[in-house]
Symmetry: C2
Subunit: 270 residues, 2 copies
């Protein structure tokens, strides 16, 4: 009885189980995509050319559940290109996640999210934020989505841990982040983190800095493998950027990451 109960507690929930248990609309959509496309791969399309981004996304779209962007590094940004990106997201069935890392007071992030050239709230399903400014940052972003009539259609991830060398998102900082997430479940749906922070399916874990081979870059980025991230650290989503972007054959490479990530999930569930 005790053993059986322990086994039950330790078992990892499948994507359909998580989908039925979580509350937020964006998370339900995401788990649905992950199940349907058999992927926990988020592609980080970091290029300064929108034309190149669209070209690569057309290739890797079938293998990903999320496309993560840094819209503010793109030199040929246009609203028309955003329209094309949204069409690709519909065609290949993935979510858009602008990795803006909002980090200002509520009154400012509200405008950064909804105004300016980018109007992020109008096209990005998911955004993220640092918690340094305190809970006002969550309120500010949430109210911006609400004012555009997008409540429930937009979700926020809190950056609880980072992958770069010497980062200070650790210990008490990470704990403060988890507390703020739990207090704002109507808008916060998970974490950018290095390992699982909660077993509650209302919070998804996304881990950046993933490559097939571990290592570092010259500016402090530290890489982990898909298996390490999903199986050992119990994260949910692998975020892969340069591993795919710099590949000669992004589609095949994305398929390799998709398989590695999904196999690790199946291993966890079994």
């Amino acid at each position: 009885m005790g053993d059986a109960q322990q086994k039950k507690v330790k078992k990892v929930l499948t994507y359909p189980e998580r989908q039925s248990q979580c509350k937020h609309e964006v998370l339900k959509r995401l788990y649905g995509i992950m199940e349907e496309k058999k992927t926990n791969l988020c592609f980080s399309g970091d290029t300064t050319s929108f034309a190149e981004l669209l070209e690569v996304v057309e290739k890797v779209g079938p293998y990903i559940c999320i496309l993560k962007t840094h819209i503010d590094i793109i030199t040929d940004f246009t609203a028309e290109n955003i329209h094309k990106l949204k069409n690709l997201a519909s065609k290949h069935n993935f979510l858009l996640f602008e990795d803006r890392k909002f980090a200002d007071i509520g009154n400012t992030v509200k405008k950064q999210y909804s105004e300016g050239i980018y109007k992020i709230s109008e096209w990005s399903d998911i955004i993220n934020a640092h918690i340094i400014p305190g809970p006002g940052i969550i309120e500010g972003l949430k109210s911006a989505a609400g004012e555009k009539g997008l409540t429930g259609k937009r979700a926020l991830l809190l950056i609880a841990e980072m992958s770069s060398k010497g980062n200070v998102a650790t210990g008490e900082y990470t704990k403060a982040c988890v507390k703020m997430a739990e207090e704002n479940q109507d808008f916060v749906v998970g974490y950018i983190c290095q390992s699982q922070l909660s077993k509650d399916p209302n919070f998804i874990h996304m881990t950046p800095g993933v490559k097939l081979v571990e290592g570092t870059d010259s500016l402090g980025q530290q890489y982990l493998t898909p298996k390490e991230v999903i199986t050992k650290r119990n994260s949910d989503i692998i975020i892969v950027g340069r591993g795919i972007m710099n590949s000669d054959d992004p589609a095949t490479t994305a398929a390799t990451y998709q398989q590695a990530g999904y196999d690790a999930y199946l291993e966890q569930c079994s």
Copy 2:
């Protein structure tokens, strides 16, 4: 003798003294402007209209040493308007400070600083960053300035403390920030903070959330007065946004803040 020595230690350096003692070119320029224009006022021009920004800056320009911008909330951004802004900075002799609050890994901030629509490194004398990603963020930003041939012409402030309610930039976090600043004096010239963190004139302190009357906004911002910031907290620069922007007469209001901030400095020096 002991008393005299104590008095000497406690005395605040004048702007010309700080200018002669500090090393960084941007800081030397800034202290020079502060002395010449008798101002420690940084105006935070937070509007979503570039036309309005230019109009207000034309009025408040004579009273400020720095214009702080949030370029990414402006809906009518154009390179031509940046050109006009630079001309206003030359005409009225103030520095430009894009309050981007960089907060990503080195490889990403490098592109966010130099690429994209905004090309911040090409026009903003000063930028700021959160230290959460670790020292790679400083390296990334510094290398971006270097690659554009702007070494010495661009400077970074680290966000050591914030003015918003419940913020977590405190204690060990602030100490880690000071350590990173001291280790990167060729690029880091000071802090966004709530009170003085260093007596070294190589580090300047800028304090946001300043109004003539203390109070809060609905999204957690907490206001301090110029006198409190300069005299009690020993900061160097008062950052005023809505206090001036929402005034019926921005020029007169800016002059009032200038006087309040400068009087507080004179009181400190005497």
